[in-house]
C-alpha cells in the first residue's frame, strides 16, 4: 500500500456520509509462451486504481478511478456520494441496515521461489525445453507452452477504522498439442487450464509441469486413431480436472445467494435452489461433503478477507449430502436471513464486489482409483474439460472432455474420443457412488469465472478427488 494512501483516504472522505470504504488494488500480470519453437510476444500488464464506496441512508454508490491523487480520490468519493443520494429512494438493499465488517490484518500467498528470481531469458528457455517434446511428429500441427504469472495487492480501508491488506500471487502453467490427420483434429492440454495455484515457481514442480509434455502429445496422437465415445447409460468416473467444472457449474453457481435473490436473472442466471432448502435439502448422496475453504494454502482463491472485509473461514456447504449454507456475502446473508460465507469479491478496482464461488472443494473419501475402476462393470473414465454448458437455473448440464477410456468388467478398456455426458444437477449428485481418497485428490481451479453486471471474470479454486457416478448418459461425436 502506498504509505500516504490511508491519509489521502481520510482527507478525501465526504462530509455527512453514513459509511465509506476505499478498496485500492494494484496488480501486475506477465504471460510468456513459446509456440512452435518461437517465442511469442511477452505480455505484461500493470494496473492500479481504487474504488470509493459511500452509503447514504438506504442508498449506496461507487466510483472507481485510477487517479490516486488526493484530488482524484476526493472526486471519486463525491461522485460515489452523488450515486448514493440518487439511489436512496429506489435502492433494493437497505444499506443503512448492513453490519459492515471491520477487518484488520494481512494475507499473503505462500511463495517459495519468486517469479522474479528467474530471468526472462531463463523462463523462456524453460518454456522452450518444456515445449519441445510436444512435437514428436508432423501430425502435431500446433503446439505451445505458456506461463501466466500474476501478483495482486489489495488495501481495504473503511470510515470505521478497518485496514486490511492482501498480497496474492498466482501462476497458471499450460501446454497444448493439436494433432491432425485425415480431416480429424484432436487437442490435448495440461489440465485444460484447471492447473493453477497461488504460489511461485515451486508450483511448476508440484504439478509436474516439466515432465508432462510427452504424455500430452502422445495422448493427442492416440486420440486421432480412437473411435468416438459410444452413446450409452453407464457409470462415469470423473478425474479431478473434469470435477473442477462439475463442481463449479452444478454446485458452485447454484448455491450463490445473489442468484437465489434474483440479482443475476438478466445475465448469469438464476438457480434451482430456493431459500427453504438450506438445512434440509438432499443435494447429493451421503458421500458428498463440500467445503468453502479460502484458507487452503496455495489454492487459487485463498484469501484472508473478502472485498467487503468479511474474514475468510472454512465452512461446510454440503455435509453428508445435505445442503447447509449458500455462497453469499454479508449483504446477501442479511437480505435472506441465511448463513453464508466470506465471498464478496471484485475482479478489479473497477468493479464492485458480488457473491463469488471462491474455493469450493469436495472432501476426499476412501476409495483408491483402482478400487473405483474395479467396481464398474460398464462405464467411462473421463479427464480434462473442453466443453461446458448448463441452463440458467444451473440444472441441465452437458460437459465434454478431451480424453476418456471405457471401463469394462472392472478394468480400463479402449481409448475413445469426443466424450461427453449430460445430466441434471438436482439428481446427478445423488448418484455419487464412490469418492476418491487422498491419492486421487488434486488442488485445481480456474482463472476464468464470469458473472455479474457489469461483467467480471475472477479466479476460483476447486480441489477434488476423482469421483464415481452411477447411471449417467454419455455419448461421443458424429462419425
Amino acid at each position: 500500500m502506498p504509505a500516504s494512501l490511508a491519509q489521502r483516504f481520510k482527507d478525501a472522505l465526504p462530509a455527512g456520509a453514513d459509511y465509506c470504504s476505499l478498496r485500492f488494488v494494484s496488480s501486475r500480470d506477465e504471460r510468456l509462451s513459446v509456440r512452435q519453437g518461437i517465442v511469442q510476444p511477452a505480455w505484461r500488464h500493470e494496473d492500479a486504481g481504487a474504488m470509493a464506496f459511500v452509503v447514504d441512508g438506504a442508498g449506496a454508490g461507487y466510483a472507481a478511478t485510477s487517479d490516486l491523487s488526493l484530488g482524484g480520490l476526493s472526486r471519486a468519493f463525491a461522485d460515489a456520494a452523488r450515486w448514493a443520494r440518487l439511489a436512496r429512494e429506489r435502492s433494493l438493499v437497505d444499506h443503512a441496515a448492513i453490519h459492515w465488517p471491520a477487518p484488520r490484518g494481512d494475507y499473503r500467498s505462500p511463495v517459495e521461489r519468486r517469479w522474479q528470481d528467474l530471468s526472462l531469458a531463463d523462463k523462456l528457455a524453460l518454456l522452450g525445453e518444456v515445449a519441445e517434446p510436444l512435437h514428436p511428429d508432423e501430425r502435431i500441427v500446433d503446439w505451445e507452452a505458456s506461463l501466466w504469472w500474476s501478483r495482486v495487492e489489495v488495501c481495504y480501508l473503511t470510515s470505521h477504522g478497518a485496514e486490511a491488506t492482501q498480497h496474492i500471487e498466482t501462476i497458471v502453467p499450460n501446454l497444448s498439442a493439436v494433432a491432425h490427420e485425415g480431416g480429424e483434429t484432436q487437442i490435448r492440454s495440461f489440465g485444460g487450464g484447471a492447473i493453477c495455484r497461488q504460489g511461485g515457481l515451486e508450483v511448476l514442480d508440484a504439478v509436474g509441469y516439466r515432465e508432462a509434455a510427452p504424455r500430452v502429445a502422445e495422448e493427442a496422437l492416440a486420440l486421432l486413431a480412437a473411435p468416438n465415445c459410444p452413446e450409452m447409460q453407464c457409470d462415469l468416473l470423473v478425474a479431478p480436472d473434469q470435477m473442477v467444472l462439475q463442481i463449479h457449474e452444478s454446485i458452485g453457481h447454484p448455491l450463490e445467494l445473489d442468484r437465489v435473490l434474483g440479482d443475476e436473472r438478466n445475465y448469469a442466471g438464476t438457480t434451482f435452489v430456493t431459500p427453504e432448502m438450506f438445512g434440509s435439502y438432499r443435494y447429493g448422496s451421503e458421500l458428498l461433503d463440500v467445503t468453502f475453504d479460502p484458507t487452503l494454502p496455495g489454492e487459487m482463491a485463498s484469501y484472508g478477507f473478502d472485498d467487503e472485509g468479511a474474514a475468510a473461514e472454512r465452512c461446510y456447504v454440503i455435509r453428508r449430502g445435505v445442503l447447509e449454507r449458500g455462497l453469499g456475502s454479508v449483504i446477501s446473508q442479511q437480505r435472506l436471513g441465511l448463513p453464508g460465507v466470506a465471498c464478496a469479491r471484485a475482479t478489479s478496482w473497477a468493479r464492485p464486489p458480488i457473491d463469488r464461488i471462491g474455493n469450493l472443494n469436495i472432501e476426499p473419501g476412501d476409495a483408491s482409483l483402482d478400487e473405483m475402476i474395479a467396481s464398474v462393470q460398464r462405464g467411462l473414465f473421463v479427464r480434462t474439460n473442453c466443453s461446458w454448458s448448463i441452463d440458467d437455473s444451473r440444472n441441465k448440464f452437458q460437459f465434454g472432455c478431451e480424453w476418456a477410456r471405457l471401463i469394462e468388467d472392472g478394468e480400463l478398456g479402449a481409448l475413445v474420443k469426443n466424450p461427453s455426458y449430460r445430466g441434471v444437477s438436482a439428481t446427478f449428485w445423488r448418484n455419487l457412488a464412490r469418492v476418491g481418497d487422498r491419492s486421487t485428490y488434486e488442488v485445481l481451479g480456474s482463472p476464468y469465472c464470469g458473472k455479474g453486471e457489469p461483467n467480471q471474470v475472477i479466479r476460483v479454486g476447486h480441489a477434488s478427488p476423482a469421483c464415481l457416478f452411477r447411471d449417467v448418459a454419455v455419448f461421443g461425436g458424429m462419425d
Partner: protein
Amino acid sequence: MKRISQSFAVLSDRVFGALAGDEVGLLSVEAETSDFVRLSRGRVRQAGSVEQAYLGIELARGQRHAAATVALSGDVEIDARRAIEVLDELRPLLAELPEDPYFCYDSSDAREEACDDAPGLAAREQALAAIFDAAGDHDLVGIYAAGPVFRGFASSRGRFLASEQHSFNFDFSLHENGARAVKGSYAGYRFEADELARRVADAASKLALLSRPAREVAPGGYRVYLAPAATAELLQMLSWGGFGLKSWRTKQTPLLRLVEGQRELDARVTLHEGRSGGSDGAKAHLQFDNFGFRKPEHLTLVSAGKIGEPLVSARSAAEFDATPTGCGTGESPSALSLEGGELAIADAGAAVGDGLYVGNLWYLNYSDRSACRITGMTRFATFWVEGGEPVAPVTAMRFDESIYDALGPKLVALTRERELLLDADTYGQRSTASICVPGLVVDDFTLTL
C-alpha cells in the same frame, strides 16, 4: 473527443521523444468513462461510475520487441513520466528476447480520427428516471451502461488513429412468476426516453403469454423459429475460432470441413464482417488493432454457403503471408452480419406451424468441433407454437445441433427483416461490437434434454 485525442497526441509525442537510435514505439490507448446502474426487481442493486484508461507500450528494435500495458491516471505529465519509465524497463529486455519473425505493424504515417461531435447521452438522473417510469411495477432486472469509449493508436513512424463513441446500452429482462422472463434491450448513441418506454412495453406485452402454464417438450426434432437474438448467439459461437486464419491453418476451426471444401452451408447463407455491422445506421467509428492496421470496409466470411475470406491478425499476416484485417489476436469478428432472406418476420409463426419460437439461446459451446456441433439452452421468451400461433411458454430445453445441418439442409427460411444488436458485454471494458442478423426457421432442430 478532441480533448482525449489531443491528450493522447501530447502523450505520444513525449514518449516517442524518449526513443533512442533506431527504436520504434507503438502506443495504444483503451479508455472509457462509464455509468453502470444494476437493477433488480425494478430497483437499484448497485450504481456507480468507472473512469479507466490503459496505455499499451510496444518498444521495438528491428524484429526484437517487448510490450507492457499500464493504467493511466489522466494527468498527461504523470502518465508520460510513467510511460518513459516503462520504456526504460523494456529496453534491456530487447537483449534477452530473440528476433520475432512474426512481428509486424503498420509503418505508414497516415492519420485518421473519428469524432462523435454531438453526444446524445442522457444525464444519469434523466436516464434513471426514464427507466423507472418505463418499468412501473414490473420485476425488471438488468443493467444500464453509458458513457464515452476511446480507442487510440500512435506509432513513432507517424501513424495516428483515434476514435471515440458515446454510447449507451440498457440490457434488461422482465420476469413473471419468478421462473419465466422476456428479454429486451435499448442501445445506441442518442438516448430517447420514449423509445426506451416503447422497448419495455414491447417486452411487457409478451408477459401475458409467459404467465400461462408451461408446456413440457420431450427431447426430439422440432421445427423452430430462432429469433434474431437466438441467431446471434449461434453466430457468436461460430465466431469463437471459426473465422480466424490461425485457426484455419492450425486445423482448429470448427468450420474446418467448410474451409477445406468438404461441406457447404445453404446457398442463402452469406456472412459479412464490416466496420459497423452493415447497413445498421450505427455511428461511424474507426476500428483498428494495436499495430495500426485498420479493419477493411467489408469482408465476406461466408459467400452463398461457401467459405470466404478469413480474419487475419497482424501476427497471422506475418506467419501465413496474408493481409491483416485489423482484428485482434483472437481473430474474431466485431461487426458480423448475416444477410436476410425472403420470409416476412410476421409470417415466421406460420412457417413454423407446430413447433417452437425461441427468443434467446444461452450458454453455447461446441459438443463436437469437427462436426461443428453446438450445444446450448433455450432461455427467456421461448414458446410452443401451434397452428402458427404461440400458445404456451416452454421450460428451458437443451439443444445439440450441427451448424452444417442447421444452416444447411435443415434451414427452411431466413427473415427479410434483420435486427441490429449492440453487444452488452462489459468484461474489462464496454464492448463496441455489434451483430446484425435475421431470424431463422430451422426444421428438425434437435432437443436433447
